[in-house]
């Protein structure tokens, strides 16, 4: 091995070092992406409405994440990946809105911030709630339908905050908006979901 190293030029040694470091980083990246890909696909599917589009968006987000953020500390990967994914979903949504502008008119809703904490606003935690009264796959379908009716930002706020478990500050960084906006989006999402699931029964 020493002989081999002795015959290598400086640039080759540097390349070998880079290969070694990259393979270590690649294993960590592979592990990370395996951990987030299914949830990312679910989020994208809810936003895009089709699995094929969702897979394209997720692949695009993975590529952009690896290209731009692979060298960042591993602790930052999750919010950064979701930031890229959120950005891609916004782009997809924008493109589709332009394509279907006449439909988008009906989807637009005014947005104004208020600093309500949705957790505090939530109703009695002992209340079983609408989903528990729905059984098995019925609950899945109901939730799926309810989530699909939410505006993109509200759905992202709900999924990032409630499902991914990010705190308000991290969710705000991921969604590139203020913490107040996150709270507003989440509050409206929770209210709309609850209403939709109640109606579903």
């Amino acid at each position: 091995m020493a002989e081999i190293a002795g015959t290598m030029t400086g640039s080759q040694l540097e390349f070998a070092r880079r290969v070694d470091a990259t393979s270590t980083n690649q294993r960590a990246l592979d592990q990370f992406l395996r951990g987030v890909e299914r949830r990312a696909l679910r989020m994208a599917e809810l936003a895009c409405g089709s699995r094929d589009d969702a897979l394209d968006v997720v692949q695009d987000a993975m590529c952009a994440f690896v290209r731009n953020y692979a060298a960042k500390p591993e602790a930052d990967w999750a919010p950064l990946f979701h930031r890229v994914l959120d950005s891609r979903l916004n782009d997809f949504h924008r493109r589709r809105s332009v394509r279907n502008r006449w439909l988008a008119v009906f989807e637009r809703k005014s947005e104004d911030d208020d600093a309500l904490d949705p957790i505090e606003q939530a109703q009695d935690t002992q209340d079983p709630g609408p989903l528990l009264r729905l059984a098995g796959s019925e609950a899945g379908k109901a939730l799926d339908a309810a989530l699909k009716t939410l505006p993109l930002r509200q759905r992202q706020a709900f999924l990032l905050r409630m499902w991914e478990g990010f705190d308000v500050a991290t969710t705000a960084r991921v969604m590139q908006c203020s913490e107040g906006s996150v709270k507003t989006h989440l509050s409206r999402a929770l209210a709309a979901l609850r209403r939709a699931l109640e109606d579903h029964q």
Binding site: V19, T22, Q26, W163
Partner: protein
């Protein structure tokens, strides 16, 4: 991440919703999993370092030299020097008449004519 998505301080229906979402990503079909795997490999492939190509520098230099040489040797538009068109000057030879500069330009012709005449005489 994902550490607190089944929390006691939340309404129960939100925890239930999280459970439903978790269930929905657990059983994906093989085709979807395969595409996810391909997407991941495609993304990871972008990070692989590329081997330094030692032949690129000499090859580039050789190409640049060849191009330079070609440009120096091959001149498609060979310039033909055209004499400046100066207005015909008139020369005053001192006898009060203006002699046209054409005469001086045709000196060679007159010399040849003179030589022909001398040849004819001799």
């Amino acid at each position: 991440m994902n550490g607190n998505h089944h929390s006691n301080d939340r309404p129960a229906w939100i925890n239930q919703a999280n459970q439903v979402l978790d269930d929905s990503v657990r059983d994906l079909d093989a085709a979807t999993l395969s595409r996810l795997n391909r997407a991941r490999q495609t993304a990871l492939a972008q990070q692989l370092p590329r081997a330094p190509r030692a032949w690129l520098l000499p090859a580039g230099l050789a190409s640049a030299c060849a191009l330079l040489l070609a440009v120096a040797v091959w001149q498609p538009h060979h310039r033909t020097e055209t004499p400046p068109t100066t207005p015909i000057a008139t020369v005053d030879d001192g006898d009060g008449e203006d002699t046209s500069a054409e005469f001086y330009q045709n000196l060679e012709f007159y010399a040849w004519l003179d030589a022909q005449n001398k040849g004819g005489d001799g």
